[in-house]
């Protein structure tokens, strides 16, 4: 009877916790101010901004709700594949948009450093131009020809009608389809402790627990006490910390930009 009560209580608290974290996920961080630095390129966002924003709508082409939806899609995709997609809109650009966007993405370091799996989409509103820039590691999948096709088939038809969200949303879907299965998210593994360190840590924890609880009477105490402690300690060191960060921030990349490089691949079109 009391056990049943306990289970019910547990679920009530747990579901409350879930809905709370769900609400956090829906919080939309503002787009940071566009600051052009000496090199002529926008300032790299702070880590917190990188974690909360992936659509830098400087030219106000999207509503908050639209930006939120795009960011959720991008963020979710990053969680499962570590591939980072960033969208930016600017009002006007007095330069070759392909080269400018390449240097912009290279400076910000979009994508993981060792994988080069970053994609940058830049829209120049008053020039009616859009460019897709591909990082070194995705060039062979999202080729220049495919980037061009995405622009011509997914983006331009919508953009011509002023439907910017729909165009970008369709482009994201196609990009994710093209890249599907190529990258997996093992960044949290590589950043956390090596396997042997976790193993040693758990091993010593077991010994300490065994020493502490071994002297006191109950044998059931040692097993029920030992289990959860090991579970939470190993969990908090890696996965729990990073995943809780990403869900409460939302919209960006939990680890920030990874330092991926861009070499000029991609395509540009105008509507």
């Amino acid at each position: 009877m009391s056990k049943l009560k306990f289970i019910v209580l547990f679920f009530v608290i747990y579901s409350g916790f879930l809905s709370m974290s769900g609400q956090d996920r829906y919080m939309l961080a503002p787009v940071p101010k566009l600051v052009i630095e000496k090199d002529g390129l926008p300032q790299k966002p702070t880590l917190q901004q990188q974690q909360t924003v992936s659509v830098y709508d400087y030219a106000h082409m999207l509503t908050d709700a639209e930006r939120k939806k795009l960011q959720e899609k991008i963020s979710k995709y990053n969680d499962s594949t570590s591939t980072q997609i960033v969208i930016a809109t600017i009002k006007k650009l007095n330069d070759d948009i392909s080269l400018y966007a390449t240097e912009w993405a290279h400076k910000w370091g979009i994508g993981q450093k060792n994988k080069g799996n970053g994609i940058f989409i830049l829209i120049s509103r008053d020039d009616h131009k859009i460019t897709i820039r591909t990082g070194y590691g995705v060039e062979h999948l999202l080729t220049d020809a495919l980037s061009r096709r995405i622009i011509e088939r997914d983006i331009i038809p919508y953009f011509k009608q002023g439907k910017f969200y729909e165009g970008l949303n369709a482009a994201l879907d196609t990009i994710q389809k093209i890249l599907s299965g190529e990258f997996t998210n093992d960044t949290s593994d590589s950043e956390s402790w090596p396997f042997w360190a976790v193993f040693l840590f758990i091993f010593f924890m077991i010994i300490i627990i065994a020493l502490v609880f071994g002297n006191s009477s109950g044998s059931s105490g040692s097993s029920s006490g030992g289990g959860p402690i090991i579970y939470t300690s190993s969990g908090s060191s890696s996965s729990w910390g990073s995943s809780s960060g990403s869900s409460s921030f939302g919209g960006g990349f939990s680890g920030g930009f990874g330092g991926g490089g861009f070499g000029g691949g991609g395509a540009t079109g105008s509507w």
Binding site: L34, G40, K91, E103, G263, G264, A267
Partner: protein
């Protein structure tokens, strides 16, 4: 013995300081030199990428425009000339680089003439394969520009390092030579401006 040591101490200290300074200078020069070489290899691979696209492009155009033999042959010749001009990355001299740049520009010219002729063939322009090649070519031209700029930047860092005051004294000693850079094309220096 003790006296001798105290007398030598300042000299030893100076020798040590000199050793550290020169060592740091030398190591940095090596790092910058390697960076520039890496940047060069990326320049080369971007040009190679373009050369690799050309046989396909020529074949596709041939299918539609048989009468453009001359233009097509010019492209093939220019490609051969461009791929034959190689540079020793350990010793990039201005003459070598100028030669390389000239050969590549010859290919650029032949290619753009080919793309102008294509305008006469609407069926070719609509060919799916041709359109894909065209966008790959555009992307590759972009890559070339990007990697050239980065190479120039890397060489700049290296050259400044070996020409600045203390470095100047040691550069000759270790045989560090100034590296050549790409001469810029028209309009490349303009700083971009974003409005917001």
């Amino acid at each position: 013995m003790k006296k001798l040591l105290t007398a030598l101490a300042p000299f030893l200290a100076i020798a040590f300081l000199l050793y550290v300074t020169v060592g740091r200078y030398y190591n940095n020069a090596i790092v910058y030199q390697e960076d520039a070489k890496t940047a060069w290899s990326k320049v080369e691979s971007a040009y190679q990428r373009r050369a690799d696209l050309i046989p396909n492009l020529v074949n596709t155009v041939k299918g539609y425009a048989k009468h453009e033999k001359e233009t097509l042959e010019a492209v093939i010749k220019a490609r051969a000339a461009a791929t034959q001009t190689k540079i020793d990355p350990t010793n990039i001299t201005p003459e070598q680089l100028a030669q390389f740049q000239q050969a590549q520009q010859g290919l650029s010219g032949a290619l753009s003439r080919l793309l102008v002729t294509v305008e006469k063939y609407p069926e070719l322009k609509a060919d799916k394969h041709f359109l894909e090649l065209q966008s790959q070519l555009e992307g590759t031209e972009n890559r070339i520009k990007v990697e050239r700029d980065r190479f120039n930047d890397a060489v700049n860092v290296y050259n400044i390092h070996i020409k600045k005051f203390p470095g100047r004294l040691f550069a000759g000693l270790f045989g560090f030579k100034e590296m050549a850079r790409f001469s810029s094309e028209k309009g490349a220096e303009k700083a971009p401006k974003v409005e917001f």
